[in-house]
Each structure stands twice: as structure tokens, then as C-alpha cells.
């Protein structure tokens, strides 16, 4: 037995004292574990290569690839190269020894070595078994005929593709996820495909009978012939496979027979090594096998009696195993609800949790529209959602899954649950997708930019546009207020047919990183400047762009309120100049009027300044203030100076920050008022003004439920009642009206202030830049907000304290500062004194 020498000794001039970690299996679960392990160290600021000397054995000759995407390769949507996760260079850069095409054949647990087929021996201190699974093969005659294969790895796909080139008919055995994807891929490759399934309906472990039937109907329409209730008795053929015979006598001809009836954990090595096995390799919550130095992850394991076939729990196992390998012994694996989806273009299936009521105490609610191919079922138990099966429209799948995972009490939603999130949350009042196909070519789709349906379709066709962004860029449709985004997307879809996958939107085109990732890194890795962030995430453009720069500037300001120095050059002009730019390049000036209350003196000061500076338009705003429109940039400091003299300060009408706090006159004057809404509004405005937020924020306080301040369409509204105050959040009165969600009812003004500060801070810390509270709450769910603010009182108080802490650094009037000379260069033209 040769002692294995590392291919790339990492510290060639020093003895390698690192413990040895050997991984058996170069598949998704094993490699994900290694990636997680390396990332942990990276996040903690240590060199990940210091911890272990890692050796990986892979049985396949390929590097690590995304097995889930094999069906995409089969269907021709991807090439083999495109599904590689980590190229060889990655292993090298990480100092990992990679052995491919040389399967491990024995584990010697006592002596801490593994032996590969080639005779190589590797010593280990820790061993990770990630041998995955093997295809289940029925015990029938004919398995060894040429033209018979399973559907498990790249070699299988290559066999199938070869058959598709030279032969005409395929039989797929198995009507689960894998079998259906195989059948569809072969169909895409031009074969005539029959599918044999043992059960009466397809995907019976993930779908109930009605949705399984819809699926079969749709695939039948696409030309796949189904033989359900079909038990395969033998594969017949002389030179090669010629077809299969079923137990009931039916015969299905085929030159290629694909076995896709399931998988079973690959446990042979572990069993031979004396580790405890059952259906799979038995692991405890810490992903250790019966030998505490030997771990196992992936489809080869059995945890609490359960084996695994979907990818999501594998990622959880990898995370836990990596933590254990890094010495964090608190990390424990637990199974969470999983969701199934089928990767066949244009077929939308989603299923999670229970497929049907377990007994009479469970409820099923179903919605069915056969002609449209729509089916939805939700299963309820004890007022909580326990399962959902969706067919045809799966948009609400993740929402249902979240409700299941959070064990949310859905009693109040029950009646509307099956209608989906938009209806159940009452978020979309009377909006559904209109039928774009029925619209005439001259129908105007984008009102802002005057773009017709015909123009959009013509642009998509003539320029082969495939993304919403591209359509937006070329036609300007949906590039302004965004209200018509759904219409434009529908037109795109209708014109091109479904296009690839949808990518989670990153922060901008300069990086693949998303908002949440970046914000987390700012905190955990203590990134304190734009340069540090850009370096950490590998920005493609050194200067960034107009999308990422303002976002990063805000994120830094929010994370480090006391120390980060604001970058005016990374702000939109309005926030840099502290006034609102108008279409002709002049500015509008809106002084703050606390709670809408003003005085004769203020009115006169505004009148005077309007006349003195020839300001052409004076207009009262819907936000209970007065707007001076058409101020020249050079005049701004002088205008502000005069307003400051009268006690008027910036109303931040230009800011992604607190705009107004609308109030009604309340108990002081109104015969219906229950509380002093005006003075409460002023207290709120005094607390909140100056705060920078992801997008603009509007508040309102109504003195009674008549709600004259329109508090239920504000970001945060307070409705006074006799017994106290109702707080409501996440409303919007603009492009798309959204009524607030109720947050909490409190008894005192002090509580109103605490909840408001905490809510704003939660929004400041967790929403994406340019995301209003309404879409933020739709995205994270009002329950999350309630949990953070109501259930977690300590968390609420901490949020409120952080809000107040941040406020001390920004509550100074920016107008006064500029009147005093700050950023003076901004308001003069060059040369500073004009030459004759």
C-alpha cells in the first residue's frame, strides 16, 4: 500500500501538522459541507486552509457538479460544463487534494485509513462519508440488455443522449420526479416517449390524485404516452432492449429503457466498516455516525428513521456537519418541511407538507379550475397550515411553506387561504392580471412613458429581448413608476414563451451579491467603507454604479451611525442638495410644519421668501405643508436662510427618510376626536425627523376611527380610540394602494413612540434600499414584524434604543448647516467669480 502524498503540499517548507479530513464522495452534499466549512473560517477572519488537510475521493471522473441539473442537461437547456459547481482550480486554490475516478473500496475505522480502488491509502483524523445513493433497480429480466440504463449521473445522461441520436422510442419506468424529468428530456431530444408507472397517479408521494391527474393530462398533451397502474414484468429484446412487458399483458415498445423508480442510500462501504446502518448510514443530530470521528451527510444517511431525496435538507446537513467539523458542537440537524417542484418548463407543480387530511379533524380546502389547469389544495390542522399542493400557479408556494414552517395561526385567514397571499393578506385590492393577449396593439401599457403593446412586442421580437430589464431599457415601458411591470412581464412571456430561470435580484449589475448578504457582511465582518464592501464581494466596476452606491452609502450609515462619514457623491441629487430637483433643473423647497400646524409668522415668512426670490409657484401639499417650486440652485442657501430666520427647517421632502406626519385636529377641536392626535403627531415627528430610511416614510395620526388623516394608507399610522391607540403599518396610497396591516393596540403615548421607533429601526435595518414598507412587509410577512415587535419585548426596546442612538447623529437641520457654509461649493458655479 502506497502512502498517499498530497498533490499540492500547501506549506512545502514546513511540516504539515494539520489534522487530516478525508471525504468519500465528490457530490453535492459532501462538497457543500466543505464549502460551508471554509466559509465559516473566512467569516471569522482565519485562513480556511489552516484547519484541515483535506482529501476528497470521487468515484466519477468529473469534478463536483450539480446533479439536480442533470435533467436540464438531458433536455438540452444546459451543457455539462454549465452544471459544474467547483472547477479543479477551486480545489487547488483551497489546498484540497482531489482524487477523481478512483472510488474508495474500504474504510478501516480502527486504523483510521481508507483505501481506494487503485490501492491508494489515505490516513484520516476525521472522515466524511458522502457516498450518496444508488438507483433502485427492479428485479426483472432484461436489465443487462444494451439500451437499458438508470438516470443518476453524467454517464447515464450520455448513454441516453447517444440513444436519442440513434434510436426513436424510449420507455421510462417510474412516474416520480426523476422519471418525469427523464421522460420530458428525452421528448425534448426528439424521441417518442412512453412512461410506465406502478401507481394510478403520477408523483403520488408529492401530489394528491387531482393534481397528479392534471399533470398527466398536461404531459399527455405534450406527447408523452402514459401507462399507469403498470407493473413492469420484463424488458424484452434480443440484441438490445426492444420494449417492456407489463404484468397485465400490455407491451410497450422502446429502444431505450430508462429505470427511474427511485434511489436507495449507498451504504455498502459503511456497513463493511462496521458502522451502524439501517436503510441508510445512521447519524445522530450532529451528523456523526456510530464512530464519532466519522461523519456522514447526504442521500446516504438515515436520520431519526428518515432518508433523504430532495436537496434542501442536504444543505441543512452540510451546514451542521461543517459546524461540527469546525468545533461548534451545538449545531444540530433537524428536518424542516420540504417543498417539491418539478423542473419541466411550463409545468408548475409545488407541494409541501401533508398531501391530504390525515383524519376527520383535518381540513382540506381546494380550488380547482380544470380548463385553466389550475389546482390548489391546502391542508389545515388545529388552525395551522400543514400542507399545500399547487398545480398551474405555484407563486404562493413559498408563502404556504413559510406559514407551515412558522406554525402561523391561520384561523383568521382561513376563508381566504386558498386564494393566495395577495387575497389573504388583502394586499391587492381588486387587481389581477388582465389578459394581455386580448388587448389591441395600440393599447397603452405604460402610462408614464406612453408605450403601447405593439411597441413592446415589436421591440421584444426585433431585438430578441429576453429579460424584463432589457425590455425596460429598450422601450422604457415600466421603467418609471413600475405599475405596469406585470403587464410588461406578461407581454414578454407571451411573446417569447417562458425563459430560463428567474435569478434572485442582486443589488445591481456590479455584483452577484444580494442586499441581505451585503448587509450581513457589513455587520459580521465589520465592513466600514464602500471600498471594503466592494473588495469583499468582488465588484466588477471599481466605482460601482448609480444603483449600488446610494444603497451602500445608506447601509453603512445605518450600520455605523456614529462613525461612518456620509458620501454626498453617492447620493441622488435631491439628498445631496437637500431640495427636490424639477424637470427644468430648478428646485422645490418644502419647510417642515410639525404635524401640519403653522403660524401667521411662518406663513408670512414663506410669502416673503416667495416674493423676494421670484419663486413662481406656491402650492399646498397633500402632506400638510407648503411647497415653493422653481427655486434656482444658487438661491437655495439664501432661501433657507430666510426660512430659518422664521424658525422653519428642512421638511426632508426630498429624502429617503421621514417625510410628514399627517394629523387631524383630534380631541382639541373635533367633536369626534378621542385623543390629542395633533400633539401626538408632533411628538412622533420630533422623534423621527432626520432619519435616513431605505425609502421615504410617511406617518399619520387620526384622532378617531373616522381616520381623517388617512392613517391606513401610510407607512405607519396611529388611529386613536377611546381606550388608546391602534398602530397600523405598511400602507401605501400611491401607485398601488395598499391598506395597512394592524400591528398592535397600545394604551399610552409612550408605547406609541416606542413601537414607532422600533418599527422604523427594524425597517431601517432589514428592508432593501428603495423598498417601501409595503413591499417589505409583503416580502417578510406581517407575522415576522409582529413577532419581532410584539412577542419579543426586549428586542423591541433594543430596536427603539438603536433608533434613538442613530437619531442623535442626524437630527440637525441640513439647511442651517448649508446656510452656515457647509458644502458651499455645491451652490456656486465655476469659476467661483465669473470672468468677464
Amino acid at each position: 500500500m502506497d502512502q498517499l502524498t498530497p498533490f499540492t503540499p500547501f506549506f512545502p517548507d514546513q511540516p504539515d501538522t494539520r489534522p487530516r479530513l478525508v471525504v468519500i464522495g465528490n457530490g453535492m452534499a459532501g462538497m457543500r459541507t466543505i464549502e460551508d466549512l471554509l466559509k465559516r473560517d473566512e467569516c471569522e477572519g482565519r485562513d480556511p486552509r489552516d484547519r484541515y488537510h483535506i482529501t476528497v475521493f470521487g468515484a466519477e471522473p468529473h469534478v463536483n457538479y450539480n446533479r439536480i441539473m442533470l435533467s436540464a442537461v438531458l433536455a438540452g437547456d444546459k451543457t455539462t460544463d454549465e452544471i459544474i459547481i467547483n472547477p479543479r482550480a477551486w480545489y487547488e486554490a483551497q489546498g484540497i487534494t482531489l482524487v477523481t475516478g478512483d472510488p474508495v473500496v474500504a474504510i478501516d475505522a480502527a486504523n483510521r485509513t481508507v483505501t481506494a480502488a487503485s490501492g491508494r491509502v489515505a490516513r484520516f483524523d476525521r472522515l466524511l462519508i458522502a457516498t450518496g445513493s444508488k438507483p433502485l433497480v427492479p428485479p426483472i429480466p432484461g436489465l443487462t440488455l444494451p439500451g437499458v440504463c438508470t438516470f443518476r449521473d453524467i454517464a447515464d445522461v450520455e448513454k441516453m443522449l447517444a440513444a436519442a441520436r440513434s434510436h426513436r422510442r424510449a420507455v421510462v419506468i417510474g412516474g416520480g420526479l426523476l422519471g418525469l424529468e427523464a421522460a420530458w428530456g428525452l421528448k425534448q431530444r426528439g424521441m417518442s416517449v412512453a412512461l410506465v408507472h406502478l401507481m394510478p397517479t403520477l408523483m403520488e408521494r408529492q401530489l394528491d390524485a387531482p393534481s397528479g391527474q392534471l399533470l398527466q393530462r398536461d404531459l399527455d398533451k405534450r406527447g408523452i404516452a402514459f401507462f399507469t397502474n403498470g407493473q413492469t414484468e420484463l424488458i424484452f429484446g434480443t440484441e438490445r432492449a426492444e420494449g417492456v412487458r407489463l404484468a397485465d399483458g400490455r407491451s410497450v415498445p422502446g429502444d431505450l429503457v430508462v429505470l427511474a423508480i427511485g434511489i436507495r442510500p449507498n451504504i455498502d462501504l459503511a456497513r463493511a466498516a462496521g458502522l451502524e446502518v439501517n436503510r441508510g448510514i445512521v447519524v445522530t443530530d450532529d451528523m456523526r455516525t456510530s464512530d464519532p470521528d466519522i461523519f456522514a451527510v447526504g442521500e446516504c444517511v438515515e436520520h431519526r428513521g428518515q432518508v433523504f431525496g430532495l436537496v434542501a435538507p442536504l444543505w441543512d446537513q452540510a451546514r451542521v456537519c461543517a459546524a461540527q467539523l469546525a468545533g461548534d458542537e451545538t449545531a444540530m440537524f433537524e428536518t424542516r418541511p420540504v417543498a417539491t417542484s418539478l423542473k419541466i418548463t411550463g409545468i408548475d407543480v409545488y407541494s409541501t407538507g401533508a398531501l391530504m387530511a390525515a383524519d376527520d379533524a383535518d381540513d382540506e380546502i381546494t380550488l380547482r379550475d380544470d380548463n385553466r389547469g389550475l389546482y390548489k389544495k391546502v391542508v389545515l390542522r388545529d388552525g395551522r397550515l400543514v400542507g399545500a399542493v399547487l398545480y398551474g400557479d405555484v407563486a404562493d408556494g413559498p408563502w404556504y411553506k413559510q406559514l407551515i414552517e412558522n406554525r402561523t395561526d391561520v384561523t383568521a385567514l382561513r376563508d381566504r387561504l386558498v386564494f393566495g397571499q395577495a387575497f389573504a393578506a388583502g394586499a391587492v385590492a381588486g387587481k389581477t392580471g388582465p389578459d394581455v393577449g386580448a388587448m389591441p396593439d395600440n393599447a397603452q401599457i405604460c402610462g408614464c412613458n406612453g408605450v403601447s403593446k405593439g411597441a413592446i412586442v415589436a421591440a421584444i421580437r426585433s431585438r430578441n429581448l429576453t429579460t424584463l430589464d432589457a425590455v425596460r431599457a429598450h422601450t422604457k415601458a415600466s421603467a418609471s413608476c413600475g405599475q405596469c411591470t406585470n403587464l410588461v412581464a406578461a407581454l414578454l412571456l407571451q411573446t417569447t414563451g417562458p425563459i430560463g430561470e428567474v435569478r434572485a435580484p442582486g443589488i445591481c449589475g456590479c455584483t452577484a451579491a444580494g442586499h441581505d448578504e451585503i448587509r450581513a457582511a457589513i455587520r459580521t465582518r465589520s465592513l466600514r467603507s464602500m471600498t471594503e464592501i466592494q473588495a469583499a464581494f468582488g465588484w466588477t466596476k471599481p466605482d460601482g454604479c448609480h444603483k449600488c452606491r446610494p444603497a451602500l452609502n445608506y447601509y453603512l450609515l445605518c450600520a455605523w451611525p456614529g462613525s461612518y462619514r456620509d458620501d454626498p457623491q453617492s447620493r441622488y441629487v435631491n439628498e445631496r442638495v437637500h431640495a427636490n430637483i424639477q424637470k427644468d433643473g430648478t428646485y422645490s423647497v418644502v419647510p417642515r410644519m410639525w404635524g401640519g400646524v403653522t403660524t401667521p409668522g411662518e406663513l408670512r415668512a414663506i410669502a416673503d421668501v416667495a416674493e423676494k426670490f421670484n419663486i413662481p409657484t406656491v402650492k399646498v401639499t397633500g402632506g400638510q405643508r407648503i411647497d415653493l417650486l422653481g427655486v434656482r440652485k444658487e438661491d437655495l442657501p439664501a432661501v433657507w436662510g430666510d426660512l430659518n430666520q422664521a424658525g422653519l427647517v428642512s421638511g426632508h421632502a426630498y429624502a429617503k427618510g421621514l417625510r410628514t406626519v399627517k394629523t387631524c385636529v383630534g380631541r382639541e377641536w373635533c367633536r369626534f376626536g378621542t385623543q390629542d392626535s395633533t400633539s401626538l403627531g408632533i411628538r412622533l415627528e420630533k422623534m423621527c425627523w432626520g432619519a435616513w430610511t431605505p425609502h421615504k416614510v410617511k406617518l399619520a395620526v387620526s384622532g378617531c376611527p373616522r381616520n381623517c388623516a388617512e392613517a391606513t394608507i401610510k407607512d405607519l399610522g396611529v388611529i386613536c380610540i377611546d381606550a388608546g391607540y391602534d398602530l397600523v403599518v405598511g400602507g401605501n396610497g400611491g401607485t398601488e394602494v395598499r391598506v395597512t396591516d394592524p400591528l398592535v393596540r397600545v394604551a399610552t403615548e409612550a408605547e406609541v413612540l416606542e413601537y414607532t421607533g422600533a418599527f422604523l429601526q427594524l425597517y431601517r435595518e432589514e428592508a432593501h434600499y428603495l423598498e417601501r414598507t409595503a413591499p417589505w412587509i409583503v416580502r417578510v410577512g406581517i407575522d415576522t414584524v409582529r413577532r419581532r415587535l410584539i412577542d419579543d419585548a426586549a428586542g423591541r426596546r433594543a430596536l427603539h434604543a438603536r433608533f434613538l442612538h442613530a437619531q442623535q447623529f442626524c437630527q440637525s437641520d441640513p439647511w442651517a448647516a448649508r446656510v452656515a457654509g457647509e458644502e458651499a461649493h455645491e451652490f456656486v458655479r465655476l469659476p467661483a467669480r465669473v470672468e468677464a
Partner: protein
């Protein structure tokens, strides 16, 4: 340089912030002029009007050698004044240079009816 042109000083480089811009107090005919300074101290001068709807480019965010118009977010490449595709159109560029920390731009020689003021003033 033809006799109709002249280099005119617009003051010290330090008057323009990095990744920033300024409008000049004079223009060419009725058109205002914007000067830009990038993060790496490259200088550009262009007519201060976006080819889309005439927005003041001098108020935009400067990234690399581009500026984003503050009105509708068109991106203009300052090196040639051309809008980044798929947008179309261009604004005129004007020669600019720095000598000993002082910035000069090349202007048509002063003639009656042009010069200071210009369209930037309402």
C-alpha cells in the same frame, strides 16, 4: 487650435469634488456647460443637457467615466458624450485640461451674444 478657439480658465481643480461635477457660470450659445472629475482625477466637460430630456448632467452620480442623469437615470459616457446603449443620443463634449492645478476648457472665442449667463439661468 483655430483662431476661433481659446482656452479659458475655470479655476482650481480643487473646486470640483472627486466623483463630482460643477456647472459653469457661462455656456456655449444658449447651452450650459458641466465639468466632471472622476475618482481617478480624469476631467471631462460636456454640454450640461441629457440627450433624453435635457436634464442637468452636472447633478448626476459619477461612476467611472460615466454620469447618470438625475431626471430619468440615463447613463452618459463622459469620454464621448454618448448615451450607454440601449439608450441613444449624445451630448457635445468640450476639450478640457489641467495645468498646474488650474482647469482650462476650450471655448469659442468670445463673441457678442454668447458668453456668461447662458441657458442655465431661467
Amino acid at each position: 487650435m483655430t483662431p476661433k478657439q481659446e482656452w479659458r480658465s475655470i479655476g482650481p481643480l480643487s473646486a470640483i469634488p472627486q466623483r463630482g461635477a460643477r456647472r459653469l457660470g457661462f455656456g456655449i450659445d444658449t447651452k450650459p456647460i458641466a465639468v466632471f472629475r472622476t475618482a481617478t482625477d480624469q476631467l471631462f466637460a460636456v454640454i450640461d443637457e441629457c440627450p433624453h430630456r435635457g436634464g442637468p448632467l452636472s447633478e448626476g452620480i459619477v461612476c467611472g467615466t460615466t454620469v447618470t442623469c438625475p431626471l430619468h437615470h440615463w447613463v452618459i459616457d463622459l469620454s464621448d458624450g454618448v448615451a450607454v446603449p440601449p439608450d441613444e443620443g449624445a451630448t457635445m463634449t468640450i476639450p478640457i485640461r489641467v495645468i498646474d492645478g488650474e482647469v482650462f476648457i476650450e471655448m469659442p472665442r468670445h463673441m457678442p451674444g454668447t458668453g456668461q449667463g447662458g441657458a442655465g439661468e431661467r
